[in-house]
């Protein structure tokens, strides 16, 4: 090799060379005394820098104690505030619990209804002609429609389904909104903490 590898010696010394370049420098060093001398100087400088040990520094225990003394104290919060904080942190778990409960109620109610229909048990009086009007039968009556018993039963089932769905959707929406609110307050708290940290 003709050219010296001086520009790469520092990186070689620091272990920053890899692959082809590393092999190139190693091969050159094997046959070039000038570059070896240059490398030796770098190594001597590192050795010299490390030779001067840190002296006169205080013992680690004393240092830790001094840092501890200079750290800002955390204000102790009253018990009610700590309880509130814990409750706030557990809020998502509570919301998930409520959501699971709503799901379970909806599924169990659906299964019970289907089972009752299959076995012909008329606990809710669905097979009886409707004695009271639902919102839909009233609307249809107003339009002059004549409704048979089967039609009335179907309409009554539809009416129940509507109430069930309304309950389910309202509960789900409320849970989602509460969870979003919790996330928004979490984000606001973090922003506030960051601003405080930057200010201090």
């Amino acid at each position: 090799m003709n050219g010296h590898v001086t520009p790469w010696l520092a990186a070689y010394h620091d272990g920053e060379l890899h692959g082809r370049r590393l092999r190139q420098v190693e091969e050159h060093l094997a046959e070039c005394a000038a570059c070896r001398a240059e490398l030796k100087e770098l190594q001597s400088l590192s050795a010299l820098l490390h030779e001067s040990a840190a002296e006169g520094l205080m013992p680690a225990e004393r240092f830790v104690a001094q840092v501890g003394l200079r750290l800002p104290r955390r204000p102790t919060k009253p018990a009610w505030q700590r309880t509130l904080e814990t409750g706030w942190r557990l809020a998502p778990a509570g919301l998930v619990g409520v959501w699971a409960f709503v799901q379970a109620v909806f599924i169990v109610a659906g299964v019970v209804m289907i089972a009752l229909q299959v076995y012909g048990v008329d606990v809710l009086g669905l097979q009886q002609p409707a004695h009271h009007e639902t919102w839909l039968t009233a609307a249809l009556s107003l339009l002059g429609a004549r409704l048979g018993d089967t039609t009335l039963t179907i309409l009554k089932e539809l009416d129940m389904l509507r109430w069930g769905l309304t309950f389910y959707l309202t509960a789900t929406l409320a849970i989602v909104l509460l969870y979003w609110s919790w996330l928004a307050s979490l984000w606001a708290r973090r922003q506030h903490q960051q601003l405080q940290a930057q200010a201090s």
Partner: protein, 147 residues
């Protein structure tokens, strides 16, 4: 690391304490995108520079006693004098070059880690390191002959 940046035990202790306190206060703003060590080194580097800056306003850092004044055998005295000369030479480097040299030589950081810690390109790390080493070689050439 702060000891090498400050060149004096008392200043280094101040800077290290300052660095730990800043790290504690700013812990919520730490994002694990970069290694925790780099983040702490960056804080320590800034704390060391701040302490030096404050100190320069009141005391001439160059006039700080670097050698131990206690009585010691001849060889120890010679070694201590050499160590003091090394510390002084490192301290005489410009802040930017000294930070790179200290992170490399005493912190053992790679070029990439130094670049991340100081928010500078790798090319700048290499050029500052070269500058610092060349300058130290000039300043410490008599000591280097003894190694």
């Amino acid at each position: 690391m702060v000891y090498r940046m400050c060149g004096d035990a008392n200043l280094a202790e101040d800077a290290a304490q300052e660095a730990f306190i800043r790290a504690w206060k700013h812990l919520p703003s730490y994002r694990p995108r970069s290694p925790f060590r780099n983040w702490v080194y960056r804080i320590a580097n800034n704390a060391a520079l701040d302490v030096l800056r404050r100190q320069r306003e009141t005391v001439d850092v160059d006039a700080l006693p670097l050698a131990n004044s206690g009585a010691s055998p001849e060889a120890t005295v010679e070694k201590e004098e050499r160590a003091a000369r090394v510390r002084q030479a490192v301290l005489d480097l410009p802040d930017a070059s000294r930070a790179v040299l200290v992170l490399r030589e005493y912190g053992g950081l790679s070029y990439k880690e130094i670049a991340d810690t100081l928010s500078i390109p790798i090319g700048t790390v290499m050029s500052r390191l070269n500058y610092a080493r060349n300058r130290l070689r000039d300043l410490l050439s008599p000591c280097l002959e003894d190694i």
